[in-house]
Symmetry: D2
């Protein structure tokens, strides 16, 4: 957990902005295409788990270093496109995430939501 | 961009871990379900752009504050599930993202990739 | 199974073409938007199963008529956009499906693929 | 359009059922995994269109036979998993599609919906 503790979101956003601008790729990074890219990469992460039940996946993630790396790569792709999206639309990631957590606190009060996956509108 | 500059990835991960554990939701946060959740939320972001071309989307994001907020909420949901996924699998986000950028530097050398969306294996 | 036995794919395609043209929606039905629509609807089907394991889903599908209807509606949405896509691109669905089955017969020979979910390139 | 005119949905479903049972794959075809498979394949279709605008896609589909075949294969994969899903859950495809069209007629009355992509609840 070392890197996550010292890396700000802005730092990753800056690196990705540089990567994009070095290649003159801003022209491709419109919100519609980036949302597609996020969805495509989310599919690729799912593909690693297809036909497997959750116990098998958890076991493989523990024991198979190669598999673990593959999963990490697909997760990275999704996050990278999310940050590219935030760069393209000038959205502050920490603000929207913290806002959502605050809203989640109201929608899912601890005493009602504890231990149940029921959606907030049916709690 | 204020929050992103001072918020580490670990800080968001900690907040989400607390949110999860306060509700005893760790039992639901297995990798298979979380990958599904990421994909579902990616679909919801896309839905905001459906039937619209990219110019219209960019214009709406600039002029329509309500739309902009909706987009931010959906992006937040995707990122939140990515961070929940990283928590559940004990993956260091900054490490995998930086690794991917390094690999991208090799796969897409600036002189070859500049201004083209061609995939690396066809460059 | 009564309707499926007497309904050709062309019949459904014709109905959807009429629905589209009555509303002058051909202008929106380009391949990029329709592919997005398919993906969005696939996410909505998945959402009905989120946080549930497969045994629970199978049980609910048997016992909960309301849930079964919801699932049918989401499946219908995906298929409808697939057929709209076929209409927009002038693709013959039965031909491409039969071709894929023939190719699947070669990629997954019965003696090798029996009882295993292993991908063809690792069989 | 020859094949679609003479092929019933049931015929495709039967072929896919045989393909599945010859390989003893019914055990993998539960609704949760099949919904994932649909979503993954939807992502693969989208990937063929990523970074391209709709005019370019339409042009390529007309002029590039290889590209057209790739698109057909990905569409086929989605439809195949939809039909596998219908087989696994004993859902009659023609019934749910026709029901949806009837509902669409009510939700999107021609006089209101003509030429606009506005969602029914905002018409």
């Amino acid at each position: 957990m070392k890197e996550d503790s010292k890396t700000t979101i802005q730092e990753l956003k800056e690196r990705l902005k540089k990567f994009r601008d070095d290649r003159d790729w801003k022209q491709f990074h419109d919100p519609k295409n980036l949302a597609e890219a996020i969805s495509i990469e989310a599919g690729e992460l799912q593909e690693l788990f297809l036909w497997k039940d959750k116990e098998k996946i958890i076991k493989e993630l523990k024991e198979d270093e190669e598999f673990r790396k593959e999963v990490g790569k697909e997760l990275a792709d999704i996050i990278i496109f999310c940050l590219n999206f935030a760069n393209a639309t000038d959205i502050d990631v920490a603000t929207i995430v913290k806002d959502k957590i605050t809203k989640g606190d109201n929608k899912y009060p601890v005493e009602k939501a504890k231990g149940t996956a029921t959606k907030y509108n049916k709690l």
